[in-house]
Symmetry: C2
Subunit: 509 residues, 2 copies
Amino acid sequence: MIPQLSKFLGPSNLRKCSPEAYRKLREILCKFEQGAILGNDIQLTDKEIKANETIMCLKMEEYNRGVKDPNQFAPGYHIFERLHEIEKSPLFQLIRKMPKGGALKTHDTSMCSTKFLIGLTYRSHLWACTVDDGCKILEFRFSKEMPTKMRHENGKWEKMDELRDRRGEVNMKKQLLQHFSMYPLSELQTNDKAWDHMMSIFSLLHGLLTYYPVWGEYYYNALKEFSEDGVQYVETRTLLNPLYCLGGNKLPVKETLQVYNEELRRFKADHPDFIDSKIIYSPLRHTTPENMGGHVKTCTELNKEFPKLLVGFDLVGQENEEYPLKMFVNELLKMPSHIKFYFHAGQTNLYGSPLDENIIDALLLGTRRIGHGYALTKHPLIMQLVKRFSIAIEVCPICNQVLQLGADYRNHPAATLIANDIPFVLSSGNPSFWRTKPLSHDFYMAFLGIAPRNADLKFLKRTAKNSMRHSALTDEEKATAMQKWKSKWDEWIDYTIENADDIMKQPEK
Amino acid sequence: MIPQLSKFLGPSNLRKCSPEAYRKLREILCKFEQGAILGNDIQLTDKEIKANETIMCLKMEEYNRGVKDPNQFAPGYHIFERLHEIEKSPLFQLIRKMPKGGALKTHDTSMCSTKFLIGLTYRSHLWACTVDDGCKILEFRFSKEMPTKMRHENGKWEKMDELRDRRGEVNMKKQLLQHFSMYPLSELQTNDKAWDHMMSIFSLLHGLLTYYPVWGEYYYNALKEFSEDGVQYVETRTLLNPLYCLGGNKLPVKETLQVYNEELRRFKADHPDFIDSKIIYSPLRHTTPENMGGHVKTCTELNKEFPKLLVGFDLVGQENEEYPLKMFVNELLKMPSHIKFYFHAGQTNLYGSPLDENIIDALLLGTRRIGHGYALTKHPLIMQLVKRFSIAIEVCPICNQVLQLGADYRNHPAATLIANDIPFVLSSGNPSFWRTKPLSHDFYMAFLGIAPRNADLKFLKRTAKNSMRHSALTDEEKATAMQKWKSKWDEWIDYTIENADDIMKQPEK
């Protein structure tokens, strides 16, 4: 289309246009542009059109208020500053109820709410390793006797019950609330420091969550919290930590998967609307090619034992110059091709760095999705190939902000992905650490702050549907998934129509 | 290329690749990608290759230091926090000396350094209108007697000499330093507030600069400061304010242009290396279609009188919803087509707003360049047309940061323009208000923080050459311009080679 248009459009010819011709041409150009944006392939039903009116009414009210007074526009601010404000937004509340399909990028120990984590600290036999007279907890461990291993200078093991009594319950709750998430904002100055902070939380949670009886409960609760947020399908990246028992014994890794299997079975029995969950084995990227070879073998073997559960492979941890993806090509190419790759890549704003080039290797290794792909818009050729091969980008807007990649949602590169209709799914990464809902806050920020102003229900529906289309489900499973989601979706549309007046009149609680 | 490649590249086939084939394929893909980036059409001479080694050595030293310790990476911070640090950078010092070609986006009353402005306040007959017992100056006016007009509540006219004596010279200097620029950072919370602040400085400077004897001197000094920063050609947007005389008489607008003409003639005579300067008439966009019709007429008439000087038209002032470009289409289409358009458009991160759509109208009106075009990467179709028609984007990285569009240079959308080889020039907008050099700071930020890590002398040379290619100069004038620039460029290359050791060993002053 471009070459023909250009003859007509050339800058000098344009000046000879009549106002009428100008307006016609403008209309056509806008139609072309609009039609190419993500979500515009969706045909809304009559009911959806009606529900859309309510949604857009809420969106435009909030948007216009933000244009008038930028202080009132949440996507211009850090999530930590606006978390509670957002929860009062009627738009957010409606998005909260929306069936969002799947959450494709989660990490197994950063899924549950802080509240649930604090609850776990009341369990029997829990010990805490503290410094500063108990003001800072560095490690947890379930044990009958005082743990003998001490990995922290000046650390002191103390029974959690006694620590709580000594410091007072209210104090301890406050302290844990801070320990378990990345608040306050002021500590997070750079991408590296934010990563260090995040990794320290993973490390703190390790002994609390890898305790055999807790592990399954955490996972079950994660599925529950996700389900309550309108998520019917979950893919989880996991390091596959071995679990430990009260006596200190470590179990073989396949027990970890066995627990997943069992809890998932139980959760699905309790929640027939829930679609499924799959596991992506994701060891740390900071390793040697030799160890990577070992990970590939482990993954292959575990996949034989759990062929429906463990279906993919990824590498996690901060991308850096020392461990580019290309370092492991020889080993990764040995992975049986039915185990799909879902690589994190390009979670950086350092254009042209080895981190940024991981996108190229993810593509060349045949990845089915790219975790973050924050750098993708700086690689137009790769972006074309990503589109051509239907590789979905797992966009995690809030995660990118908290990890200091970008400050303002209105500048998030996903807007360019949306404009180019690049396969796109929304995820939250580690919602536990930013105290957000499993998907709702990310949907809210993307809908209000990243997508174009007139992005509407079509955008939301396309994004939800994408999460199944680009999942690790088989084609048959996808068909069932789509049915289960569709039935919830129709309910939500009905709810939105029936309660339009209430939804628009007052902020929900 | 894409369709053929894709057969070979399809994600499932890729997994059957041998490591050798993988590496070859990767190499080819990277070459394709690299070759398409802005600047890669440039063939460096042997001498340039040698100078490039020094440049890249400086760049990589600073870049790698920044990767190790992000606190030391200037492009991750606000310019106001790092201004003095940057001046110590050997890379910055070398860029400062580089012949940069033209500065295509400047505004006539925000070009000179604060130092020069403070100097002007020592002139005879200057009055200041102050509030808060002189702590805040709201207006300047040259006059024999005390000015009679009072536009400010509680304002008080006072002779500048007396005010300075009363408040003390050191105090007054500090106060003026703050009045004349947008420091400190803390006051600038949102895009709107930053704009308000900037407009208040324009308003404060009005009476100081539109005084007939000062106007010419300001322009001459602006050309001098730009010239000292390696700029040989300047295009200036101007409101064409009428000038006033000591008695208060206002002169007809053509006198304003006459002063430009005369000062430019004088400057060129004094500086034979300087290429030229052109004027783009740029009234405020916040007006009625009827008034716009008047501006078009004025522009047409003035162009007849100053056909070589006043060659283009633009609209200035903050883009907003009330005054979209499309509102003035009927009037703008009446402009004779030899007067080129150089529209500001899309200086916003509000995707899908009328501000954002100004880009579409700028294109359809046949603009030859787009001022800012910050929103362009959200409009892939327009971006293709912009490239096809060779419309240059005037990228002003520091201006975008100060006006609160984006915080981190590594996220500036111009990286995507560079990756797509979109015609691209660098400019500074209003360097006077951010205390930066006319072009050097913007070049430094773009080179170190926006362009890919391996962007080198080819990028710098392409950017400099683009500023002449996309200027309002005629083809003949461009040939001469290129010669004048080339001779300076060769000198700089020689300087860089000859002083390589000194340049690399110690920070210059």
